[in-house]
């Protein structure tokens, strides 16, 4: 059953090829993991860019509001709705 909890996901430039160029998208889920699963349905390919078999990729950071999910409950972090989920990837250009 689709979650009633909706959040806004801030999409970094490298992933916008998967979101039709959108810098923010909506997604549903009661946890961060559910939101990513919903993102994958709406924007196929996103999940693989964010997660590997161990969890969040080591060069990706996910924030709920201003808090790194590492210091919350990780992918199990619960969402109430209305939060901003920010993806911060490592970049190296100079």
């Amino acid at each position: 059953m689709e979650s009633n909890v909706e959040v806004t996901v801030r999409v970094p430039t490298p992933l916008r090829t998967l979101t039709g160029g959108a810098d923010e998208v909506k997604a549903r889920g009661a946890t961060v993991a559910e939101v990513i699963a919903d993102l994958e349905v709406r924007h196929p390919g996103v999940k693989d860019r964010l997660l590997d078999e161990k969890g969040v990729r080591r060069f990706i950071n996910l924030y709920v509001g201003d808090e790194d999910i590492r210091f919350l409950e990780g992918l199990k972090t619960e969402l109430k709705g209305g939060e901003l989920l920010t993806i911060v990837p490592a970049i190296a250009g100079g």
Partner: protein
């Protein structure tokens, strides 16, 4: 005399150097190994058409000295390498990491932590810039946030491209952080990463916390040296 070490004389290094020299920084040590290319000119704003083909360091020093003759510019020819990194940063009040690859970024993070030296990591790809300051205490550090580099198969900087003004923002913020370090106000800027989105004009700062398992800055760290095996070349973004 306060020495700022700037690693990377490119799109971030140029605006950072201008801001630092204009602010009165007395000495800059600049490291790079590239030559100026036409494709650099939109963002590497110390260079002009006549510099194409010249070593970046020479063109960089000439342009900076013309504008700011009171800033001493010392040149370090070559990239930061495990064998040269400690000498490169020796004596610095603060280091600016304006490099174009992950191997150099992790190397500078480690070298500065081992030397107890503050470092500003500044990066830009496409429309995104990030800047993170790390204090001499080294905690939280770059490895707290980014545990590893992206793997093979990712687009590199040359193919991904970068908007010139986005590099300018990254360079300006990096210089701001460096000046605050020099002013003894490093605590104002550590523990956060600034991100700038050049398409939406959104500038944000999000908190970075010390990761308990961080191999570089935890109480019993596992990184004690600059083992070359740890700094293999990687591509530049996810």
């Amino acid at each position: 005399m306060s020495l700022v070490v700037l690693v990377g004389a490119g799109g971030i290094g140029a605006p950072a150097a201008i801001a630092l020299a204009a602010a009165g920084v007395s000495a800059l040590r600049v490291a790079d190994d590239d030559r100026v290319e036409v494709s650099n000119l939109h963002r590497q704003i110390l260079f002009g058409d006549a510099d194409v083909g010249r070593p970046k360091l020479d063109a960089f020093a000439d342009a900076l000295q013309r504008r700011y003759p009171r800033t001493a510019v010392e040149l370090h020819r070559g990239r930061a390498l495990p064998s040269t990194a400690m000498a490169l940063i020796a004596g610095a009040a603060v280091v600016i990491d304006a490099t174009d690859n992950f191997a150099s970024r992790f190397l500078l993070a480690d070298a500065c932590a081992l030397a107890g030296m503050p470092v500003i990591h500044a990066a830009a790809v496409r429309w995104t810039a990030t800047v993170m300051a790390v204090s001499a205490r080294g905690r939280p550090c770059y490895r707290c946030l980014f545990e590893d580099a992206p793997g093979e198969g990712a687009p590199d900087c040359a193919s991904a491209g970068v908007a010139g003004p986005v590099c300018g923002v990254a360079g300006a913020i990096a210089a701001d952080r460096a000046l605050r370090v020099l002013a003894g106000r490093v605590d104002d800027v550590v523990g956060a990463i600034v991100t700038f989105d050049g398409r939406t004009d959104v500038l944000r700062s999000v908190a970075v916390r010390a990761r308990p398992a961080c191999p570089l800055c935890r109480d019993a760290p596992t990184i004690h040296d600059l083992d070359p095996a740890r700094y293999q070349p990687r591509t530049c973004e996810l």
